[in-house]
């Protein structure tokens, strides 16, 4: 019904200025015009349903199958009901990986948000030249392609010739000369975290800075008149004003870090001894690596469900702010 409001005004000029001849029968014309928007969104909708929606369904179907190397080669479908799920949910390995992913995500996002916000607030305090300099550094880190960044970080943290070990050694921590960062779980996670945080801070900092420029100055002046100090101004003006931004960005980062595959995989392929596998990497090594495709699909569905919950909450946050703009 709402199709008429704009469509009608747009369609009307044509018959009026018309190319002569009888005015087209009104009813059929508006009906045709009403179909136009659907025709326009059809390719997008069809492709999305076909290549994203169907894959989701396929992923679900696979998760109910016993599909290993043998079944794959013979092209047989063996339905196993909920076996994959009961196996996954009943294994300590799955819960270990899930816990690890949650802690990993929490640590990364906390670091990204805290440091990112501090850098953003710093940007707001700086003079033009220093702000430009810092922005340039941030944009370089932000723009660096992830795969290129992983090789660079492997080089920075290289055992023999890496700059990090050299600097630590020079700073007096001599044990670190020749330290093999990928030999331990925590040290591998450390490298991955530095990489992810380094690449994610610019997004938070630059957007936070952009957001602070939209805060009306009058609010600060009013707060000063009320005798508010620096901290009070932050808690009573800045933070409430930016709260939607904080929430939305935090969720976005949670989603991004939780599903990060490239960084975790490319730095050490989930090693040593599969100790740094997060859920996406775990689904990959179980499914593709060990050729337990059904099991891998079940793990990926469980991961997707967690992500979906996060995404739904995030979209609700965003839509609440943007309701009228939709």
């Amino acid at each position: 019904m709402s199709a008429q409001t704009e469509e009608a005004t747009a369609a009307r000029p044509t018959p009026a200025t018309g190319k002569g001849g009888a005015p087209p029968p009104g009813a059929s014309r508006t009906r045709a015009a009403r179909g136009v928007p659907y025709l326009l969104i059809l390719p997008t909708a069809a492709l999305t349903v076909l290549l994203l929606g169907w894959t989701m369904v396929k992923n679900g179907l696979l998760s109910f199958q016993n599909l290993n190397r043998r079944q794959l080669i013979r092209h047989v479908t063996e339905w196993t009901g909920l076996d994959n799920y009961t196996n996954a949910l009943g294994s300590s390995e799955f819960w270990g990986v899930t816990g690890r992913s949650v802690v990993f995500t929490a640590a990364n996002v906390a670091l990204i948000m805290v440091v990112g916000c501090l850098v953003g607030l710093l940007l707001a305090r700086l003079g033009t030249k220093t702000r430009l300099l810092l922005s340039l550094g941030l944009v370089l880190a932000w723009a660096m392609p992830v795969v290129a960044a992983t090789t660079v970080f492997q080089w920075l943290f290289d055992q023999r010739y890496g700059v990090v070990n050299y600097l630590l050694d020079r700073a007096g921590w001599h044990d670190m000369a020749g330290y093999n960062w990928t030999s331990g779980r925590l040290s591998t996670f450390f490298v991955i975290t530095v990489l992810i945080v380094w690449q994610s801070i610019p997004f938070v900092a630059i957007n936070l800075y952009a957001a602070t420029t939209t805060i009306p100055k009058e609010l600060y002046e009013a707060a000063s008149l009320d005798g508010a100090g620096t901290w009070k101004k932050f808690t009573s003006v800045t933070f409430p004003f930016l709260k939607p931004f904080f929430l939305a960005t935090t969720f976005l980062e949670v989603i991004w870090v939780f599903k990060a595959f490239t960084q975790v995989f490319a730095i050490n392929e989930g090693g040593p001894d599969r100790l740094t596998e997060t859920l996406p990497v775990y689904a990959f090594t179980e499914g593709i690596g060990s050729q337990h495709f059904g099991m891998g699909a079940a793990i990926s569905i469980l991961t997707i469900v967690m992500l979906l919950a996060l995404t739904a909450y995030y979209l609700r946050l965003v839509l609440k702010q943007e309701e009228d703009e939709l």
Binding site: L51, N59, R125, V152, T230
Partner: protein
Amino acid sequence: MKPFALNRRAGSGSLLGRVWPGATAVVLFVVFAFPVYWMFATAFKPTPDIVGETPVWFPTSPTFDHFTKAVDADGFWTFVGNSFTVTLIAVGLSLVIALLASFAVARMRFKGRKSFILVMMMAQMAPWEVMTIAYYMIVRDADMLNSLPPLIAIYTVMVLPFTVLTLRGYVAAVPKELEESAMVDGCTRVQAFRKVIFPLLAPGLMATSLFGFITVWNEFPMVLILNKDPGSQTLPLWITGFRTTFGDDWGATMAASSIFAVPILVLFVILQRKAVGGLTSGAVKG
């Protein structure tokens, strides 16, 4: 007056207080820029300088040897060709398809419009990295592993939601009156679009397509799983597989990474402003 006076007492007081924001900014600049700098510096340094006891901080005697080695590596041009083929076709396709949809969404009222936008927002957050097994099975069943068309199709859909949502903003920004007056002057709606709106949209199309370009150019998990045959792989696999390609030759590895990163770094620095605007209007603001 600065909107932020977190540390005002220190700020207006001692010399230290006035200097620290600038000093911190310089330190942070070094921290953020150093890895990128180090990639280029290593790529240009002669090997003895790379594997010395103490790092050589500046490439004082620059050499192109590592670049030559990277470019002469087995199959380099195949990877480059594949990367460009996949990226350009996927981005081009998604641009055309998204333009139609974004026009409908920005300019027309119709039932289901809101749901369509919502679906696009959901699709934009789709966990591609986690769905690779299903894609593997689908592509395998179609007997199309180790070929480019499946990648192109997947990448097209991957950048489609972002493209639709971003273009919607650009289309909406073109004044409706221009289109209407063109139609009053006797243009059909299609003509009005082609002659009036499209030229005004060009910068938006550029910016949007470049971000699609960055996404596809960088994509790693999908091609990792679908294409095991080097003849059908793209640059990200070549870069991450550097240990097999170059051994522990960090000079060549950094040269390869530099070749891969330069187009993106250049595009991004140019488009930085639009990046912020685009990401907030496309992702955060929906």
